[in-house]
Assembly symmetry: C2
Amino acid sequence: MAEVVERRGQILEAAFEEFASKGFKGATIKSIAGAAGLQSPALIYHYFPDKEALFNAVLEVHAPMRSTVDDADSLLDLPPGTVLPKIARAYFATASNPTNQRMMRLMVGEAMRRPGVADMLGRATAERGLDFLKSYLSRQVQLGRLRPHDTRSSARAFLGMLIPQAAGMVLFPALLTDGLTDDEHVGAVVEIFLGGLEPER
Amino acid sequence: MAEVVERRGQILEAAFEEFASKGFKGATIKSIAGAAGLQSPALIYHYFPDKEALFNAVLEVHAPMRSTVDDADSLLDLPPGTVLPKIARAYFATASNPTNQRMMRLMVGEAMRRPGVADMLGRATAERGLDFLKSYLSRQVQLGRLRPHDTRSSARAFLGMLIPQAAGMVLFPALLTDGLTDDEHVGAVVEIFLGGLEPER
DNA sequence: TCTTATATATTGAACGATCAATCAAGGGAG
DNA sequence: CTCCCTTGATTGATCGTTCAATATATAAGA
């Protein structure tokens, strides 16, 4: 062998790939060992107690996922005309990343069978996306840049408007057959959103 | 036994339940037979050639799913202030139906592994939801009730705005912890959408 | 109507394949 | 010699599927 490799990481990466494409039940210890280049599946049990633990380890490794907005607080006082497009583009960038796409497929595929995964996924988008948006939008209402309204709805609305396009990248290419580009969609969506929430009339 | 039951339908229903909660790989012929009240898994093979065929039969049975909007064409000329809330409420009603929820879980869970299922799901929402919205919104632009804009974006936007709330019902309860009701959301969303697309003043 | 023949429904048992997991032994580095 | 890494072989369980045998229903013949 050319070099001493980090076996554990090697196994984790192969398991990530296998779990994402075949699901927990569909991926076998043997197939993971094969994908990792091991000569025997037994080696996996030297690094992980069992298949379940390997799965959880995979989840932990890739759990962070590039956050949609990493410099959250610094955006709080900036005007929505610049912040919302920024958020939307960051969202699409996250959805375009192949590793994130695999992670999404992995989690969505297992979320039905594993309440913990569903919770992880739900909580991630809720806390990382919706909660920030809620407080940001509330702040903008406070500043008089948006008219008073229920930010629970507007936060869902803004994030939601991006979902069909993002889902098209990750899961359902059929949604993108009309050729609308991400940038076009961001522009149109922000315009609708801000037009619908502008202060006075 | 009390009555002569339709074995085939009985098996299909049990298989639906099992596939939806455990996935294709997770559901076993034996567990399906048990859920259907059969004394032997062998009987399943009298009605279906194999597990794969049983799965496809389940998909076919429940494929229709109550359409979001059944009287589509009659809505084309009605004003968006009445049509959009109607669509939104129909959407939430579909998402609240327990059978539809199971079907969604089944399809979403298998969509990762089965391109055919992903296509079915993507095409269903695209053709049944987006395409109608696109033509409806275009018609409303034509009538001067909405300002000219790219209806590929606005169709995505309107449907998307509903998704976080619907996803909360079906998969991720964590999204609904702030207690926003469906009706509140429909009202707020329609207001934002129409405000953002109202004709020039 | 009673019996017989035929087709369908249902069953328990069994098959080979494959799974996750175990184990004792080999191999190389220090 | 010692310790950790790695391996091939193997275990018992469970999987989808098959099969021969039985039960039940339907139809025909006398």
